[in-house]
Symmetry: C2
């Protein structure tokens, strides 16, 4: 319709660009900035993993199995903060794709001893290369010493939260 002449629209656009929304309250908030930073880095890492058909969570599981062959599903779940029922589909898919397998556990016939297949080890190796490259890129953005400082700060937040969220039985 009329009303929105070219001039009017221009004025409106300039007014919006000028004010640019006040989001200072959020951008000064640790919780919000943690979320934005996490989403940004995960999206980036996820894109790089796409070539391997992995998502970040699957990479984490493969990495833990790779360094802890024989680990059980419950152990992975408590270590990574995954609900046990939700882990079934995860390991189902990894096993279905021939990357990991469920074996008999030595001392407990209820438990599954997880391990990587040779194919799983190859995929993990490539994924770890991608991860190291990604971490290096993040470190470069943070400047000298930034990575170490950020890790130290984050671990403080994770450790304090742990008492409430993860293991009350440790």
């Amino acid at each position: 319709m009329k009303n929105g002449s070219a001039a009017t629209r221009r004025v409106q656009r300039i007014a919006r660009a000028a004010k640019a929304l006040d989001v200072a309250l959020l951008e000064g908030s640790l919780g919000y900035m943690l979320r934005r930073a996490q989403l940004a880095t995960f999206a980036e890492f996820g894109k790089e993993l796409e070539a391997l058909g992995l998502r970040p969570g699957q990479f984490g599981v493969l990495a833990v199995i790779g360094r802890n062959p024989g680990v059980t599903q419950s152990e992975i779940c408590t270590a990574l903060g995954i609900q046990r029922p939700n882990f079934v589909a995860v390991i189902d898919e990894l096993e279905g794709r021939g990357l990991a397998k469920r074996g008999a556990a030595a001392y407990d016939r209820r438990a599954n001893a997880l391990s990587l297949t040779p194919a799983g080890r190859r995929v993990l190796e490539r994924a770890e290369l991608a991860q190291r490259a990604h971490e290096a890129r993040l470190a470069a953005r943070l400047g000298p010493g930034g990575q170490e400082r950020l890790l130290a700060l984050l671990s403080r937040l994770v450790e304090s939260g742990r008492g409430e969220t993860l293991s009350e039985d440790r």
Copy 2:
């Protein structure tokens, strides 16, 4: 069954406690630690918001509307990184609960000018109190100057990511 005598189980449990899973690769990774820290802080903040019937995302929306009355849905979406279709349900709920309302925009009859109701302002005020308390608690965990250092580091990660994820039209 037999096999798992008390002694055997004890040995097994001690072995597991001793090795305690090697997750060093993940805990030395910025991406993973960002995720764990973000989940921990969001879970904590979410619990505190529960009394107000808000989730962290809804708090963010209320906060942006509160400081930018007349803001449109699209503007909020680009500012907060929400897909426009997903925002409909968000503002539907806030409006249905009488906390926000959609009004006529001044220069564009397609757009909705969002604003808070008096009830919305009261809820936001209480939520901001909870948020300040939460942020203060996080800051305490980080030690002197930790909050400022962490915010500075996180903003570096968010800014670099922005070119790819949010606005290519800026």
